[in-house]
C-alpha cells in the first residue's frame, strides 16, 4: 500500500511544511514500503505541483485543479480525499489550519480515528504525539486499516529537493453546495513565516503596548527573525492573533527563540519549548520562563533591547 501526502500551499506557492510531512511519510515508508504520492488540490496550482515534484522521495504528484477546490474548503477537499483514499494505507497532512480542518472530516467519513500532530513515527501503526499542551507525550497505536494523520512540522526535518516525480491530473470533481468562500485577509509581512523561521523573537505582556513591539523590529531585521507574541500580548491588543505562539497559536521550534517580557505560562511553553536555544529577557528573575531558558538576562527590556540591537 502507498502513502498519500496532502500538499500545503498558499497563493500558488508550495508551503515549506509539505517537505516536513514528506519526511514523516518517508519514516512510514521505511516500515511498509510502497510509494509516496502527493495530492495538490486547488485552483491554478501548476506551479505548486512542479515544486512538489522536486521533493525527494515522492513517486508521483496527483493534481486536482478545479474551481471547486479553490481555497481548499473542507467540504469539497474532504470529499476528494475520501474518493482517493482507497489507494492508500496512510494519508498525511501538515498540522496546519488546512490539515486540521479537513483530515478529521476524511477520517470520520472513512470511519477511522484521526491521529493529530504526530512528532515521531515509531512504526507504520504507532506514533508519538504531545498531549496536555505538550506536557506529556503519548504513544498511540492504531488498528484502523487507514491511518489519517496530521504531522507537526517541527518534529521532522524537511526532505531535500533533487527529485523530478511524475505529475498526473486527477479528474475527480465533487459537488459543493454547502460552503462558499467569501473573503480572505492575510497579514502582510516581509519577515519569514513564524512556523518556519530559524530565529523567532517574541514579546509578551511586559512589552507594555503594541507601539513598543517596534523595539523588536531592528533585532528581527538583523537576525532575519520572525516576530511572535504570547497570548497575553495578543489579548491585550498589542499585536494580531496570528502572531501568537503557544498551545492555541503557532508551534515553533527555531534554532534560536528569544522571549521578551514573557513570563512563560504552560500554554506559551507548549508552543516553543522544542526550540534549540531559548533566551529569556525578563525583569522578574522568578519568571518560569527562566526554567526553560538556556540563557537568561534579568533586567528592563526597554534598556536591554536597544543595547542588544546595537551589539548584534
Amino acid at each position: 500500500m502507498s502513502i498519500l501526502v496532502l500538499a500545503e500551499h498558499h497563493d500558488g506557492q508550495l508551503a515549506g511544511a509539505t517537505a516536513h510531512v514528506v519526511a514523516a511519510a518517508q519514516k512510514v515508508k521505511e516500515a511498509i514500503g510502497g510509494d509516496i504520492d502527493i495530492l495538490v488540490a486547488g485552483e491554478n496550482v501548476g506551479a505548486v505541483a512542479d515544486a512538489a515534484a522536486k521533493l525527494d522521495g515522492v513517486s508521483k504528484v496527483r493534481v486536482a485543479d478545479h474551481a471547486v477546490y479553490a481555497h481548499q474548503l473542507a467540504e469539497p477537499l474532504g470529499a476528494l480525499l475520501v474518493e482517493l483514499a482507497g489507494d492508500y494505507s496512510h494519508i498525511l497532512a501538515a498540522a496546519s489550519t488546512t490539515g486540521k480542518n479537513v483530515l478529521p472530516r476524511v477520517a470520520a467519513l472513512k470511519d477511522v480515528s484521526q491521529i493529530s500532530e504526530i512528532v515521531e513515527v515509531v512504526d507504520a501503526d504507532t506514533f508519538k504525539r504531545p498531549i496536555y499542551a505538550g506536557n506529556a507525550i503519548a504513544t498511540v497505536k492504531s488498528a484502523d486499516s487507514l491511518k489519517v494523520i496530521t504531522v507537526r512540522s517541527t518534529g521532522f526535518d524537511a526532505v531535500g529537493e533533487g527529485n523530478s516525480a511524475a505529475i498526473e491530473s486527477v479528474d475527480t470533481v465533487v459537488e459543493n453546495s454547502q460552503s462558499t468562500f467569501i473573503k480572505q485577509e492575510l497579514a502582510q509581512s516581509d519577515r519569514p513565516e513564524l512556523a518556519a523561521a530559524k530565529v523567532v523573537i517574541s514579546g509578551g505582556r511586559g512589552m507594555g503596548s503594541g507601539e513598543n513591539f517596534k523595539l523588536l523590529d531592528g533585532i528581527a531585521d538583523k537576525l532575519g527573525a520572525a516576530i511572535g507574541a504570547s497570548r497575553a500580548a495578543v489579548d491585550a491588543g498589542f499585536v494580531p492573533n496570528d502572531m501568537q505562539v503557544g498551545q492555541t497559536g503557532k508551534i515553533v521550534a527555531p534554532v534560536l527563540y528569544i522571549a521578551v517580557g514573557i513570563s512563560g505560562a504552560i500554554q506559551h511553553l507548549a508552543g516553543m519549548k522544542d526550540s534549540k536555544v531559548i533566551v529569556a529577557i525578563n525583569k522578574d528573575e522568578e519568571a518560569p520562563i527562566f526554567q526553560v531558558a538556556d540563557y537568561g538576562l534579568v533586567g528592563d527590556l526597554f534598556e536591554i533591547l536597544p543595547e542588544l540591537e546595537s551589539k548584534l
Binding site: 473542507a74 467540504e75 489550519t97 486540521k100 480542518n101 483530515l103 478529521p104 472530516r105 476524511v106 477520517a107 470520520a108 467519513l109 470511519d111 477511522v112 480515528s113 484521526q114 491521529i115 493529530s116 504507532t126 504531545p130 498531549i131 496536555y132 499542551a133 505538550g134 506536557n135 506529556a136 507525550i137 503519548a138 504513544t139 498511540v140 497505536k141 488498528a143 454547502q178 460552503s179 468562500f181 467569501i182 473573503k183 480572505q184 485577509e185 492575510l186 512556523a195 497570548r231 496570528d242 498551545q247 492555541t248 534554532v255 534560536l256 504552560i266 534549540k276 536555544v277 527562566f290 526554567q291 526553560v292 538556556d294 540563557y295 538576562l297 534579568v298 536591554i304 542588544l308 551589539k311
Partner: protein, 249 residues
Amino acid sequence: MKVLVAVKRVIDYNVKIRVKADHSDVDLTNVKMAMNPFCEIAVEEAVRLKERGVATEVVAVTVGPKAAQEQLRTALALGADRAIHVETEERVESLAAAKLLAKVVEEEQPGLVILGKQAIDTDNNQTGQMLAALAGLPQGTFASEVVVDGDKVQVTREIDGGLQTVELTLPAIVTTDLRLNEPRYAKLPDIMKAKKKPLDVKSPADLGVDVASKLTLLKVESPAERKGGIKVGSVDELVDKLKNEAKVL
C-alpha cells in the same frame, strides 16, 4: 433556531499535570477539573445568539463520566436552557464522541451546533470536523466571528497567516477559537437556578453507538526535560554566549 453546544470536562488549564508512574496515562486523581476553555467560548456564543434573538433555545450536551454533570450545570448557569448528558465511564475518542453527538443532532435537529476547536487534554482538534462529516453538515472551524443571516451563517475563521470568511448553509457546525468572545462568569443566583433546569441522561447504548476505539494508548511519558540554563549578567555576555558557546548567531 435551536442551538446545540457541546462541552467537555477536562483538567483545569492552570494545573501542572503529572504522568502516572506506570506510564499508563496522566494522573487525574484529586486534580481540579473544569469546563474546557474553548467550550466556555462555545457556550458564551450560543447564549449571545439567544440574547440577540437568533437562537430560541440553547441545549448543552456532554459525553463523559457522571461528574461531567458539573460542567453541564455550569453551562446551564451561563444561560443554556437544558442539558443532555451522554454518560459513560469509558475513554471516549473523538470519533466515538462525534458519533454520539451526531445521534443527538439527529434527535434534536438544531439549526447550529457550536463546539470548542480543541480540548486542552487530548489536544486533538477533531470532534467538530468529525461531527460535521457524520451529520453531513458544513463546518466553520476556528471561528473568530459568527454571523447568522436567514438560512446561512458567515463564519470568519482564524487560518495560518490571517483570516478567512466562509458562508455555510444552515444547519452547520461551528468550532470556536479563542478570539470569538470573552466568556462571562456564572452569577450565584444563576447557579442556583441552574440546579432546577432539565438535565437528561442517556447512555451510548440508548443512542446505539459503540464507543470502542481502534486506537490504543500504549504509553504516556513526560517530555524530555530541558537542561537548566544559566543567567548572564549583561547584553555583551549574552551576545558572546550566543556567538561562541551556542553558536546560533
